[in-house]
């Protein structure tokens, strides 16, 4: 599903990632961990095509991101859900519109978008908050909206960058349960986190980054 071959990324003189080779299979649940500045976010951004590697190759579902056109990258992103620590929601749009957006950009008919949005919001427990605006919601609820948006197109891959970084332990547990459920439905899930609590008692694969290198 995701393959990295000797990937390096530098920003000016700083090396964010050095010689990373990694393979993540379809349906896997993987944690990427490491201290702040270890290169977790850069790794996820490379997989999402938001950055180009300085060296090496990245294959997503067999597609080489080094050779992909801009339009095809847009199309590929529709199959990858991305959840951010700061949620990245449109505060002037309702919960419904925020989630529906990811379906609308795919050119889906409104009737189908509406049905899918209702379903996914019910699945994340926000059926009663459809018409609310993001700033009227708690942090946990906003993250659920972001997850719903990432999941509405049934992506093959879900990338989450510190998705519980701003949330309290109870809400964190709920969000992680949601990721597990998504993974059980067949979506490959990759979560970047520096939280030790999140990794305790987990039987999932853990990839550790240190100073841009795999441990």
């Amino acid at each position: 599903m995701i393959q990295l071959f000797r990937v390096s990324k530098t920003f000016g003189a700083n090396a964010a990632l050095k010689d990373i080779s990694l393979r993540i299979r379809k349906g896997e649940f993987v944690f990427v961990t490491g201290a702040s500045g270890a290169g977790k976010t850069t790794l996820l951004r490379l997989m999402f095509g938001a950055e180009q590697p300085t060296e090496g190759q990245i294959l997503i579902n067999g597609i080489n991101l080094n050779r992909i056109s801009r339009v095809n990258l847009d199309l590929l992103r529709r199959g990858i859900g991305f959840v951010f620590q700061d949620f990245k929601l449109l505060n002037k749009k309702s919960v419904f519109d925020n989630v529906a957006l990811a379906s609308v950009v795919c050119g889906e008919r409104f009737a189908i978008t509406k049905k899918k949005t209702h379903q996914i919001l019910r699945a994340v427990g926000l059926a009663n908050k459809e018409q609310a605006f993001p700033l009227q919601l708690s942090g946990g609820e906003q993250q659920r909206v972001a997850i719903a948006r990432a999941m509405i197109n049934n992506p093959l891959i879900l990338l989450a960058d510190e998705p519980t970084g701003n949330l309290d332990p109870d809400v964190t547990r709920d969000i992680m349960l949601l990721f597990r459920t998504i993974n059980l439905r067949g979506t490959t899930v990759l979560i970047a986190t520096h939280s030790r609590e999140l990794l305790e008692n987990t039987d999932q694969r853990i990839v550790v980054l240190s100073k841009g290198m795999l441990q």
């Binding site: 938001a50 801009r70 339009v71 847009d74 199309l75 590929l76 992103r77 529709r78 991305f82 990245k88 929601l89 449109l90 002037k92 749009k93 957006l101 990811a102 609308v104 950009v105 795919c106 050119g107 948006r149 197109n153």
Partner: protein, 296 residues
């Protein structure tokens, strides 16, 4: 994604970002008012010259105390002048009366006169001066040789001077018009760019969920086009309001009517509307191009 949907998105965006759009539209309107005012001025000056150019009249002023037979000789010479239409005789009293009527409420300045300073005159007109290849200057010289003629004046003299002025005005108009267009484009582009910049998070999120560039750009282009055309309509309304409010139907110089002011002809109104549309569209296009490069 259909155009109707892009359109709906654009209208929703305008409604959601009312303040930004109001500021952009206000800027476009003010720029277009400046441009429209310039076009209005230019159209009226051109009309004035065209009006004067269509016909040419001549006044043959007679010396005070001219003898009756000399007056008759002049009259018959004018009647027989090729290409000329004899318009009549204006006596000194008639000339004063006409002037008083023209001055209207300001005619009081003439009441203190101890004698009538205006000369009597014969009026003639030439139709199609250019087609008949008449030389008003030569006619003037011939007429001034006649006994009892004090001076001959013809509108062509004014026109010659005015044609030089209109040439300069045209040249200045071209330069000022071009500069104004560039300035308006610059203002509109930067206003729209600021509006787009204020919504950069929105664009980023659209791109993150897999929106194509066209999906993001199309509503912005429609918004720009709408802003441009609405700005142009508002500018035309303001110009017409000013035109109507000040009742600039007739411009008077020292009480004398100089010209009738007209509003912009339909063709020019269409031009300003199209210009608004094109500038709004181009402003958005340029701003988006720059912004997307920044965003990449």
């Amino acid at each position: 994604m259909t155009w109707a949907r892009y359109f709906k998105y654009a209208l929703t965006n305008i409604s959601t970002n009312r303040m930004i759009h109001a500021i952009s539209m206000g800027t476009i309107t003010i720029s277009m008012v400046l441009f429209g005012a310039f076009v209005l001025f230019f159209v009226n000056v051109s009309n004035l010259v065209m009006e004067w150019g269509h016909s040419s009249s001549m006044s043959v002023y007679l010396k005070d105390g001219i003898k009756q037979d000399a007056k008759q000789r002049i009259e018959s010479a004018l009647i027989n002048l090729p290409g000329a239409e004899f318009k009549g005789f204006i006596s000194k009293e008639q000339a004063l009366s006409d002037l008083m009527e023209t001055l209207g409420p300001q005619s009081g300045i003439l009441t203190g006169l101890t004698r009538n300073p205006l000369p009597s005159s014969f009026e003639i007109a030439f139709r199609d001066v250019q087609r008949l290849q008449l030389d008003p200057k030569k006619i003037k010289e011939e007429l001034e040789k006649l006994e009892g003629v004090d001076e001959v004046q013809y509108s062509e003299q004014w026109l010659e001077r005015f044609e030089a002025v209109i040439y300069v005005i045209k040249l200045v108009g071209l330069i000022v018009g071009s500069l104004l267009s560039v300035a308006v484009l610059f203002i509109i582009t930067n206003t729209i760019k600021l509006a787009i910049y204020s919504r950069r998070d929105e664009i980023e999120i659209y791109k993150l969920v897999g929106a194509t560039d066209w999906f993001v750009k199309a509503p912005f282009l429609i918004e720009g086009a709408l802003q441009g055309i609405i700005g142009a309509v508002l500018a035309l309304l303001i110009l017409f309001g000013m035109y109507w409010l000040f009742s600039l139907k007739t411009i008077r110089v020292s009480g004398l009517p100089l010209m009738d002011i007209v509003f912009l002809p339909n063709g020019h109104i269409m031009f300003i509307l199209c210009l608004g549309l094109v500038l709004g569209l181009m402003g958005s296009f340029v701003a988006l191009g720059r912004f997307f490069r920044f965003f990449d």
